[in-house]
């Protein structure tokens, strides 16, 4: 399992744009938003939590098709399916690798982007916390979408259409934590809920994704 994780990480870094792609997209989005909305402090601060969360979600979506598609093309996915490692474990590891290369860099860099969008300082820890708790769910759900569409030649658009509705609860709670943090309101309830979504997805979605992969490898 560790070997698979290291292999995926190494591939993501050496193929270029593993860490960079999501971050770069996030940077462009945060730079574009003030041009669209106007530079007024109050206006930017009001939309910052939502923009940052939507940005994280789209950045995550951008690299989803790489979770299984490349391995499916060169046949290593078939090898993994016949290896002693259960397919559920493969899915979980691949989702983890995806999170380490796209989710984690966003979590680390989010305060800087929050600064650009005039997010109040009080909200920074909550932004980081919400992303830290929420982005693993995005990766796991994304792996499910990728597993459903892995056999299709142009599955990218379809995968986005399937995955985005699944992201809605995470997005709601994630942005809510940040917004409440900015206002100094109590955040315990959305924090507990987003953590619940992430834990439940991480525990159960690999089974669904593995079932979908088995169908696609048939």
């Amino acid at each position: 399992m560790r070997a698979l994780l290291l292999r995926d990480l190494r591939l993501a870094i050496r193929a270029g744009g593993g860490f960079g792609l999501g971050l770069c997209f996030f940077l462009i989005l945060t730079v574009l938003v003030p041009f669209g909305i106007g530079p007024a402090r109050a206006g930017l601060a009001a939309v910052a939590p939502g923009i940052l969360w939507v940005g994280a979600l789209l950045a995550c979506l951008l690299s989803l098709d790489r979770i299984f598609a490349l391995d499916h093309e060169d046949g290593s996915l078939d090898l993994l399916a016949t290896s002693p490692l259960p397919l559920e474990g493969v899915v979980a590891i691949k989702a983890l690798a995806h999170w380490l290369t796209t989710g984690l860099p966003l979590v680390v860099a989010a305060p800087v982007f929050g600064l650009l969008l005039q997010l109040p300082f009080a909200a920074m820890p909550w932004l980081v916390l919400s992303l830290l708790l929420g982005t693993p769910a995005l990766s796991v759900l994304g792996a499910f979408g990728a597993a459903l569409t892995v056999g299709l030649r142009r599955g990218g658009l379809l995968m986005s259409a399937l995955v985005l509705p699944l992201y809605i609860p995470t997005l709601i709670f994630g942005a809510e934590i940040t917004r409440r943090g900015a206002e100094g309101a109590p955040v315990a309830a959305p924090v507990a809920l987003i953590a619940g979504i992430t834990l439940a997805s991480a525990a159960l979605i690999p089974f669904a994704a593995a079932a979908a992969l088995r169908v696609n490898l048939r």
Binding site: L152, L158, L162, P165, I168, I172, A208
Partner: protein, 241 residues
């Protein structure tokens, strides 16, 4: 006599073939009757004549959710017991459910314009219906994207299971995110507040009509799918000989 006998396509075709000739007229009569009867009811003292759109809106919204539940049950039956009719019924039901969701959203918008002063509001009920519509679209898109019918049935079945959980989760998550503008349930056994009988009976008839209409449409579409399968099997046999 068990319900699984209807998983036999021949038996299913015979039974539904006998059912449809009377189900369809009942469905059309009840739908038209309910809506027209509803149209003839007196105006509401607060909502005026706009209240009459309820005879389309409430039954369509009810069927939008019920059809999804039916798809969920059919998907589970397919995944567990591998009855092809069940998978085809789930496939046939999805566009019907999507149209019902669209009717509910559209009639809601038409009603909301004079009543709430807006065509659209990000209210929890409206939003969760929009999310349900997205799930329907994704489900239909996945069915049409995959060529092998058995793989498509498996993948959409899994999507339906996961989607159901997340559609329900979204339903309650949006409550968290915005306070509602939409009124509560139109018919409720638990709450003491009840609609006057003048409005209630046409609504019951319209609900019966929409339910029968959805059932009839789903059966017709399932029969079409079965016939398409048979045709494909015949063609494959001819090609081989």
């Amino acid at each position: 006599m068990s319900i699984w006998e209807y998983a036999n396509p021949a038996k299913f075709m015979r039974t539904t073939g006998a059912m449809l000739p009377w189900l369809l007229p009942v469905a059309v009569a009840a739908t038209v009757g309910g809506v027209v009867w509803g149209f003839l009811t007196p105006d509401d003292y607060r909502q005026g004549s706009t209240v009459k759109i309820m005879y389309m809106h409430v039954p369509a919204a009810m069927m939008a959710i019920n059809v999804w539940v039916m798809m969920l049950v059919a998907s589970v039956i397919w995944i567990v017991r591998r009855h092809h009719v069940s998978a085809l019924a789930a496939r046939a039901a999805a566009p019907v459910g999507a149209v019902m969701t669209l009717i509910a959203l559209a009639t809601g918008a038409i009603w909301g314009q004079p009543m709430w002063g807006t065509w659209w509001e990000w209210d929890p009920r409206l939003t969760s219906f929009l999310i349900l519509f997205l799930f329907y679209l994704g489900y239909v898109a996945l069915w049409s994207a995959i060529e092998d019918p058995d793989s498509a049935a498996d993948l959409t079945g899994v999507l339906c299971l996961v989607g159901s959980v997340f559609a329900l989760l979204s339903r309650y998550a949006v409550l968290f995110w915005n306070q509602g503008l939409h009124q509560g349930a139109s018919l409720s056994v638990a709450s003491g507040e009840r609609m006057s009988a003048v409005y209630r009976y046409p609504l019951y008839l319209a609900m019966l009509g929409f339910a029968a209409l959805s059932l009839a449409l789903i059966l017709i579409r399932t029969r079409t799918e079965i016939r398409r399968r048979r045709l494909a099997a015949l063609q494959a046999r001819e090609l081989r000989s």
